[in-house]
């Protein structure tokens, strides 16, 4: 079943064209990852999909009654706004306390319910954002660099949970990520974006495409090497730093 279809989408920001003629569709149960350099329009695309940005041209069609789960990048919380984790989990729709506790536990954030959102570490904050998005049993989960601020263990946990969620809820997942080595392992399909979509397909196909190699240079070799040979190890992404 197709969850979302994007046709000929152009998006402008402040008069500047950011996205050009994007064509993309996402199926139920599929994990699609968008990769691309800074300023390539990854976040803009996600924001257009959730309805934050109006398209300049083209359209975004959602399956009828589609429930979205959205995990943004960590955002600023005004210090004047008191907010416990469990209250935040119940926005905008309230949930039973048992459900909230269960969602927190699944996200590896058990026992944080009574804490203030502002007192959370970056990693905890991301886990809470994911837990909140999952509470609504979304059909399509949209993640914007959701593993930012997570340590290695946290990243591994995160993707493991994503896999479980996809299996249990059968939802589609669309995410933006910079962790090329994990992306290659965790995605069904990779979309390489740079204003327009320059290539897309299975991770193996994209990793070997000239457009992708031109964009990410040597990193791709390392990422791909990790994917091919080292995916059973917990290895530091040393290649990405070079």
């Amino acid at each position: 079943m197709t969850l979302l279809t994007i046709e000929h989408l152009d998006v402008d920001l402040g008069g500047q064209p950011i996205l050009d003629s994007i064509q993309l569709s996402i199926e139920r149960g599929e994990i699609v990852t968008i990769v691309g350099p800074n300023g390539s329009g990854k976040t803009t695309l996600l924001r257009a999909i959730i309805g934050s940005l109006a398209p300049a041209r083209g359209r975004i069609q959602r399956a009828p009654g589609l429930m979205l789960g959205y995990v943004p990048q960590r955002f600023h919380l005004d210090p004047t706004l008191p907010m416990t984790v469990s209250r935040f989990m119940g926005l905008p729709r309230r949930h039973a306390p048992g459900q909230i506790d269960q969602a927190l536990e699944r996200a590896g954030a058990a026992g944080l319910g009574r804490q203030q959102m502002r007192s959370l570490s970056g990693g905890q904050f991301q886990r809470i954002l994911l837990a909140r998005a999952l509470l609504e049993s979304p059909d399509l989960l949209i993640l914007d660099e959701a593993t930012q601020g997570l340590d290695q263990r946290g990243v591994a946990d995160f993707y493991r949970q994503l896999e479980t969620v996809r299996r249990e809820l059968g939802c589609g997942v669309l995410m933006v990520s910079h962790e090329l080595h994990v992306v290659m392992r965790a995605s069904d399909r990779v979309v390489c974006l740079n204003g327009a979509i320059c290539c897309e397909g299975t991770p193996e196909r994209v990793a070997s495409s000239p457009a992708y190699r031109a964009m990410f240079g040597h990193d791709t070799q390392d990422a791909f090497a990790l994917y091919r040979h080292d995916h059973s190890h917990q290895q530091a992404p040393a290649g990405l730093a070079s």
């Binding site: 309805g51 008191p82 416990t84 935040f88």
Partner: protein, 271 residues
């Protein structure tokens, strides 16, 4: 009848305004709209002048100008203007223009001080009915939209993803603000309306763990300040509106000190 006592009417009027101002004031604080409240309130003087010139009801005039000001400001705010400068210009121009316009109204003796600082002791039964109608309207709006307003205040992208239109929620706040200004005019006057919005909410902050508890506490502090201020003004023979705000400021001071002294509260305000 109990409403025949002017002090009872004054107290009820004060409580009504404080209750409506509490949840709205919290949003004004959370969304950093303090100046926005000021501009809306100051536009009320212009409304008073216009209603005198056109001999319409003051309430209608004030509602209209406040609404226009609030709408203009909130639509400009999304367009990248230097907001604090712009608001400063608009708030004080509206006030000045209103004062000039009032001076043109010849033959009518109006008590300008009553509009600037309020005249809570002169609240009649009709005023009381309007104040409570306005307060209940605002409380109803806040209750109805509470979750959506909170989500939109936290993060507009989160709101969009949940099918909430932040622009519409902003409009509801704008409308509520104009109503509160219109009904609070008689109680504290244009110069001090913003104080009644912001101070109780700020006082409640150190003791609150959730948005709801902050709004409830703000209502309590607001109602306490208005009734206590009324009493104090009676004993000390001071102007009522400013006395109410002074008492609210005193409570704020005590709350900030308590917030510094209590370790558990420190945790929520630090960072």
């Amino acid at each position: 009848m109990i409403l025949d006592d002017f002090q009872v009417r004054a107290a009820l009027a004060g409580i009504g305004v404080a209750l409506a101002a509490a949840p709205l004031g919290c949003f004004v604080v959370w969304r950093r709209m303090a100046y926005f409240g000021d501009a809306t309130a100051h536009a009320a003087v212009l409304g008073v002048a216009l209603s005198l010139v056109l001999s319409t009801s003051i309430l209608a005039g004030v509602l209209t100008t406040s609404l226009v000001m609030a709408t203009v400001v909130s639509s400009l705010s999304g367009r990248g203007y230097a907001m604090d400068t712009l608001l400063g210009v608009m708030a004080h121009s509206a006030l000045a223009l209103g004062l000039v316009a009032v001076s043109f109204v010849s033959g009518v003796r109006i008590d300008l001080m009553a509009y600037l600082f309020g005249d809570i002791l002169a609240v009649g039964k009709w005023d009381l009915a309007i104040i409570w109608a306005g307060a209940l309207l605002v409380l109803g709006l806040m209750h109805w939209r509470w979750s959506s307003l909170l989500t939109a205040t936290l993060n507009t992208d989160l709101a969009h993803a949940s099918g909430i239109a932040p622009g519409r929620e902003q409009l509801i706040l704008t409308l509520s603000l104009a109503v509160v200004v219109a009904v609070a005019l008689k109680v504290v006057g244009v110069l001090l309306i913003a104080a009644l919005l912001i101070i109780p909410a700020a006082t409640a902050r150190p003791f609150s763990r959730t948005p709801e508890s902050m709004a409830l506490l703000a209502a309590l502090f607001g109602a306490g300040s208005t009734t206590g201020g009324l009493q104090a003004a009676f004993w000390l023979d001071t102007p009522t509106g400013p006395t109410i705000v002074s008492l609210a400021a005193l409570l704020f001071l005590l709350s900030s000190l308590a917030g510094r002294l209590t370790p558990s509260v420190m945790k929520t305000t630090r960072q």
